[in-house]
Symmetry: C2
């Protein structure tokens, strides 16, 4: 994480360059990597999405660019205000804040996109600028983190302090891991499974930091897992529902998404998807549901997705297609509520 | 909260009565309050939904009742296992667990309904039986709670320990408030507003315990607010979006819902909805959106709802109808990100 002082100075430099241009009678031009589909490439070597070399310009002398140029400059200025005031903002708040300045966004998806442009322009992730989405996932395990947010600077928190887990919000997102007794990160899709693994002390048994994803992992959550992986050296295991959506949650943690191709420090290429795999459904006699059309269409989409060119991934897709069935991670409860902890996970993590 | 020992003994008594009937050659009959619409009445005096006097039977000698009788007995037995093993279960897990026992539920909504029947039969809320939904909201403020869950018995936690708030999960839900410096409970709809109130130290300024609702408040959250209100004597204020949905979030906190008419210790009749009211939209020059058909239909529904017979509530509905506009609580950001804390809330809480 870039600290707030460095982030502020990057934004100040950006502003100074613009002012200098204007004072010298030049129309300022901002140049940033192109984030459109054509410039998003899958790096086979690192197994992640990255941006290609093509750039786009926001040229203030071009009347077609004036809107996007001023939106981008306003978002930069809003982010600087946040950093100077030690504040964070949700993406929604940012959208509404624009109204006071007469900066026009058609809707929040447009302001979200411009936040992405600013990330590209500055090389800073929006989290480093104090800008967050609303969704939260949770974490629990034997790691001590040191907060950096205002009012809590230097305070440490043990991630087992709350038996319900701790939300991965702006404060935890920007905290530093200082100590850990854990040996793995175990990310799970559902809140029910997360609670089960806490109360059965599975975190102690597997020496695991538990992460509750709640569907596609928010970026803050992927970043925190990435830090556990890089800074604490912990391997990452992902346990999801047994369907194309669950498999894709795991795959995005590994390879990233086109949307975040411009952001570094998110992907964990050697994370492992432990299941529920198509094999598990039969091997563990899980109660299933038939796949619906959306599930089958999703399999078709994934079969053409660059992230699924690997042999193992194509095999999973094929197996799901033949099975035409899916199973939730809760489905292990059929064999007793502790079965998943006593039998399934030890086998899969072995 | 009924403690686990008492809850277990209530379930054991239930089981003993059934066994006794069988041993004496009688078909056991379970009798519980009728939870169907016709028996749900609004108590004008207490301003909450309650059940009327009509009862229904699950008679094991009646072939049409055998299914619902055995479902109910199985859920009771599952709950007893949970209590004895110091475990909790999500409603989803309960549904899947039934498969192992050959107990048939068409889908989760049926097993959820039978959990409601068990609540009615025993007078115990599902939370007292260790059964929880997956959704979570969060809390932050100057209250110390003492945990009762296994592994954390007697440990206390200060609800300001995590600057991202603490999730209201099974552990916090069953914890006891032991000490508080707070003077009010301030419940807010969105996660963005919750974060804003934490980082601006609004909780200190207003001496408030902050609760993030995240839409319609989960029952665990309503129960925790109820305890803050009753056990700590704190008045409750609810701050939502300015639209029929936000207003109804507040109204359910006050009067409850038909679905939970059989559960006590949830409603807070003298909680206050502080806004965003239709007046606020004009008074604070908030950016608005036009109401869509779903919003307008919702106003029609609410105008006929027994919870809205009061003069003030009918007036709000009328004002929304005339305005045909809605505003989010984030909309105050138009006037600067701290405006809601520096100007709006002090005025409304005064």
């Amino acid at each position: 994480m870039t600290n707030p002082e460095s982030a502020t100075s990057i934004l100040k430099d950006l502003g100074s360059r613009i002012v200098e241009d204007i004072e010298n009678g030049r129309f300022p031009i901002l140049e940033l990597l192109d984030r459109r589909t054509g410039n998003i490439v899958f790096n086979d070597h690192s197994q992640e999405f990255i941006l290609g070399a093509s750039h786009v310009k926001r040229n203030s002398s071009n009347s077609r660019h004036v809107r996007s140029f001023s939106q981008l400059v306003w978002v930069a200025s809003f982010a600087k205000q946040l950093l100077l005031a030690n504040r964070t903002s949700s993406l929604r708040d940012l959208y509404y804040s624009s109204e006071a300045f007469g900066v026009d966004f058609t809707d929040q998806s447009e302001s979200d996109r411009v936040v992405g442009d600013l990330e590209c322009l500055t090389g800073l992730a929006r989290e480093e600028l104090g800008i967050f989405p609303e969704e939260r996932s949770s974490v629990y395990g034997k790691v001590t983190m040191r907060y950096t947010v205002s009012g809590y600077e230097g305070k440490t928190v043990d991630l087992t302090i709350s038996p319900d887990g701790l939300p991965i919000g702006p404060a935890l997102m920007t905290a530093e891991p200082v100590e850990s007794d854990a040996e793995i990160v175990l990310a799970v899709e559902s809140g029910g499974m997360f609670s089960r693994l806490i109360e059965t002390k599975a975190w102690e048994r597997f020496n695991a930091v538990l992460v509750q994803l709640g569907g596609q992992a928010p970026r803050a959550t992927r970043r925190l897992m990435h830090r556990f992986h890089k800074e604490l050296g912990l391997p990452v295991y992902v346990f999801t529902d047994g369907d194309p959506w669950g498999m894709h949650i795991a795959r995005v943690i590994m390879c990233g998404s086109a949307n975040s191709a411009h952001v570094r420090h998110l992907t964990i290429p050697n994370a492992k998807w432990i299941g529920v795999t198509p094999d598990d459904i039969a091997d563990f006699s899980l109660p299933t549901e038939s796949m619906n059309n959306a599930d089958l269409k999703r399999l078709d989409d994934l079969s053409r997705d660059v992230r699924y060119t690997g042999k193992d991934w194509q095999r999973y897709i094929e197996e799901f297609r033949e099975l035409r069935m899916k199973a939730e991670q809760q489905a292990f409860s059929r064999h007793g509520i502790d079965y998943v902890v006593d039998t399934y996970l030890p086998e899969k993590l072995a």
